[in-house]
């Protein structure tokens, strides 16, 4: 158990330290790289809890896709970070308030879990016993069997968000010449090539 404890504190410490670096690093690209480090350590904590499926999904989705987009945007923008810092003290009270509310909510949820686990379960479907199925299986049963309609609804919300983003950013520029593979393949030598017999010294 000692080794698990040590591993937990190692990952937790790196995660927290990297999270602090995300907001304190001077260079925005470094901030994103530290954010990736935080994700990694969160994934390691998931593995320690035996939730290996969530850990892998966290890496595939957040590190492999979302953070790449962040990095893209941050690299392309020419941000003057000193300017961004100027309003720091002005926004500190609001930021602190939001942080406090989040902390209080987390404490209430975790407290409920610890002191009254049966109350925290509420009306939710019972999770399959971890001894009998792997956690990939357990998640699948919960999402696709018990909460199928909610899952579909959240999928629809995401779909609408995606369509909205495409509609808002899509613009059709006139006069752009695109390669049309269908047209190219439909061309036939008979129509596009003409063979002429040219007499010497005459030209066409």
């Amino acid at each position: 158990m000692i080794v698990q404890g040590l591993a937990f504190y190692l990952f937790a410490f790196i995660a927290v330290a990297a999270a602090v670096m995300v907001i304190s690093a001077r260079n925005p690209v470094h901030s994103v790289l530290f954010l990736i480090l935080t994700f990694f350590n969160a994934a390691a904590l998931f593995v320690l809890m035996g939730a290996e499926f969530l850990a892998m999904i966290l890496i595939v989705v957040y590190v492999g896709a979302v953070a790449v987009m962040f990095l893209f945007v941050v690299m392309m923008l020419d941000i003057n970070f000193a300017e961004l810092r100027q309003g720091f003290l002005q926004y500190l009270p609001i930021g602190g308030l939001v942080g406090l509310v989040l902390l209080a909510e987390l404490l209430i949820i975790l407290g409920g879990w610890t002191f009254a686990p049966e109350a925290a379960m509420g009306g939710s479907a019972p999770a399959p016993a971890p001894e009998t199925v792997s956690n990939t299986d357990a998640l699948g049963q919960l999402i696709y069997t018990h909460y199928f309609y909610l899952f579909q609804a959240s999928g629809l919300v995401l779909l609408i968000a995606m369509i909205g983003a495409i509609v808002l950013t899509h613009r059709r520029r006139p006069g752009v010449r695109r390669q049309n593979i269908g047209d190219q393949l439909r061309r036939h030598p008979d129509e596009s090539v003409e063979v002429r017999k040219v007499e010497t010294g005459r030209g066409i």
Binding site: H30, L33, I59, V68
Partner: protein, 343 residues
């Protein structure tokens, strides 16, 4: 004390021994893959290829490695030093750690984890970071353009690779790599491997691996005619060697993934006498070598794709086809009651 030894110290030493046993041959294979690439392409061009260092030029990879080792490591003065050096390390490291879950035979695997295939997918989706970091930290236009191209390309093709993997997983019913191979075992021999029922998916997967490893005909990140050498222009000596090794180790990894998903991993082509005499790891190596040969063959044969054609192929052809395949395969499995785990 004895408890500590049995519980932690000895397993750690044993794991380190296994890691050395995997990484050593892998690096040797990487070295000789560069040699094989030059020889195979030379043969296809009717040239001789490397033939000076050692018999048949067999020591050429060693000479190349030594040369890179002895060169000066140049750090560009305007580069972001830490990120500049982390980039090649990330590339090299990621190409090695993925091998932890690859089974070389039944039970011959370092970590037989439940979500093995997801682990492989996660690692291959991280490969883009080494490239982006290198391109950004070099503080050079060519390197940055190469890195952006490469990142867009790897992200695009990963999506269809993911869907292809899902079609395979639907037929297996498990995320464990060993079980993926065992699910292909059956009376049909090599025609029961997933390449035959899922043939279009196997083709899409192989082409996507070419794009994912930035190989021909998708080697736009280092299109030497337009970008000098892409994201690694500013690198020299050992950091460059790490990129090079990482690229080739990734090729071997992708070939291994293709072999596991579609070519039956370590299984012999037919479960009868002369084939079963040869041990599993050798079959696995032969399948990897076949895939790698196709990698090299493609390089010697095809011209490079233009960038918009590359994106069109990824997003407008492979993505819809593989998405449709997920629906069709799951529909067929449910309709004919073939889905694993139901019977």
């Amino acid at each position: 004390m004895i408890e500590l030894w049995d519980g932690y110290v000895w397993p750690t030493i044993w794991i380190v021994i296994k890691i050395v046993l995997i990484v050593g041959p892998l690096l040797l294979a990487v070295a000789y893959l560069t040699y094989a690439e030059r020889k195979v392409i030379a043969a296809m061009h009717l040239r001789k290829g490397p033939n000076v260092v050692g018999p048949f030029g067999l020591l050429q990879p060693m000479a190349d490695g030594l040369k890179l080792f002895l060169k000066e490591t140049i750090l560009p003065s305007r580069a972001n030093r830490v990120v500049f050096l982390i980039g090649p390390m990330v590339t090299f490291l990621l190409s090695l750690i993925a091998w932890a879950v690859i089974p070389f035979g039944e039970g011959l695997v370092l970590a037989d984890i439940n979500v093995g295939i997801l682990y492989l997918f996660a690692i291959s989706s991280l490969g883009v970071y080494g490239v982006i970091m290198a391109g950004w930290a070099s503080n050079s236009k060519y390197a940055f353009l190469g890195a952006l191209r490469s990142a867009a390309q790897m992200v695009s093709y990963e999506v269809s690779m993911g869907f292809v993997m899902i079609t395979v997983l639907l037929c297996v019913g498990s995320l464990n790599v060993t079980e993926i191979v065992l699910a292909q075992q059956g009376p049909w021999g090599m025609f029961g491997w997933f390449w035959s029922p899922l043939f279009p998916m196997a083709v899409i997967f192989f082409i996507s691996t070419l794009a994912e490893t930035n190989r021909h005909p998708f080697d736009l990140p280092e299109a030497e005619a337009e970008l000098v050498a892409g994201f690694n222009v500013e690198y020299s000596a050992m950091p460059f060697a790490l990129f090079y090794l990482g690229e080739y180790a990734n090729m071997i990894l992708m070939a291994a993934m293709t072999s596991i998903l579609f070519l039956g991993g370590w299984l012999p082509p037919f479960d009868i006498a002369p084939f079963t005499w040869i041990p599993g790891p050798i079959w696995f190596a032969l399948k990897i070598a076949t895939c790698l040969f196709v990698f090299l063959w493609v390089r010697a044969t095809f011209p490079r794709y233009r960038y918009d054609q590359l994106m069109r192929l990824g997003w407008k052809v492979f993505l819809p086809v593989s998405l449709a395949a997920v629906v069709i395969v799951s529909g067929v499995l449910i309709a004919f009651d073939l889905a694993p785990g139901t019977s």
